[in-house]
């Protein structure tokens, strides 16, 4: 299976703290994408990192990719209560395969 697996499964932090979520996968990929999902809602694309990239930033998001370890991390800095959601990594070959997700709870 080439699926992404995330850890932790759940993460609770206070506003202002940083949140780090990790993703591991098993096969070669074209790119890796991170998505956010609010409860019962759609998947919102956050960031895409290509297989030849090691780090990418977008606002308060920082994504790293280590293809030798087949792992990626998503860092949300200075978290806000509105960041509360589930976060999924998805590895891309000719389709996206999603991980199990990390449920992030940010307390005000």
């Amino acid at each position: 299976s080439q699926q992404g697996e995330e850890d932790p499964q759940a993460l609770s932090i206070q506003e202002g703290e940083n949140a780090t979520m990790n993703c591991s996968y098993k096969t070669s990929i074209n790119n890796l994408q991170w998505y956010r999902q609010n409860s019962g809602r759609g998947l919102v694309h956050l960031i895409l990192i290509r297989s030849n990239e090691r780090e990418k930033h977008s606002g308060r998001l920082r994504v790293t990719l280590d293809t030798s370890k087949k792992s990626s991390s998503l860092l949300i800095t200075a978290s806000r209560a509105a960041d509360t959601a589930s976060y999924f990594c998805a590895v891309s070959t000719d389709k996206l395969i999603f991980g199990t997700g990390t449920r992030l709870q940010v307390f005000p």
């Binding site: 998505y35 759609g42 998947l43 290509r50 000719d94 997700g101």
Partner: protein, 114 residues
């Protein structure tokens, strides 16, 4: 920002009934997908579609499922005879190409089979 739109947002259907979920992908995209997410579980790939034919399908996408692009804009998922276990959120997605670009998802259609 262009978006993928899906209808209906929520549908309740009797077991054994046929359901059609509709999607309008982003207009210049060429690759289309359906995914599903059973409540509390992860997002699962169902099928990909390109050039008016199925590119790939998962084990979930059995004979009761079909997809169609009836015109230049709509992309539909049909479930011929729904089962209780088909209850899930169904997401449509599209992308400009296969390997390098973002795949954009719709808000989903929540299907409840009773």
């Amino acid at each position: 920002e262009p978006e993928v739109t899906q209808t209906p947002s929520h549908q309740v259907t009797q077991m054994g009934q046929e359901v059609i979920l509709r999607c309008v992908p982003i207009s210049n995209h060429l690759y289309f997908y359906w995914y599903r997410q059973i409540l509390g579980q992860k997002v699962e790939f169902l099928v990909s579609f390109y050039n008016n034919e199925i590119s790939e399908k998962s084990e979930i996408f059995d004979d009761q499922f079909s997809v169609e692009r009836p015109d230049g804009s709509n992309f539909t998922l049909k479930i011929r005879s729904t089962k209780l276990e088909d209850s899930a959120m169904y997401f449509c997605a599209s992308s400009a190409d296969l390997s390098g670009n973002t795949i954009y998802f719709g808000e989903g259609s929540w299907l409840t089979v009773v």
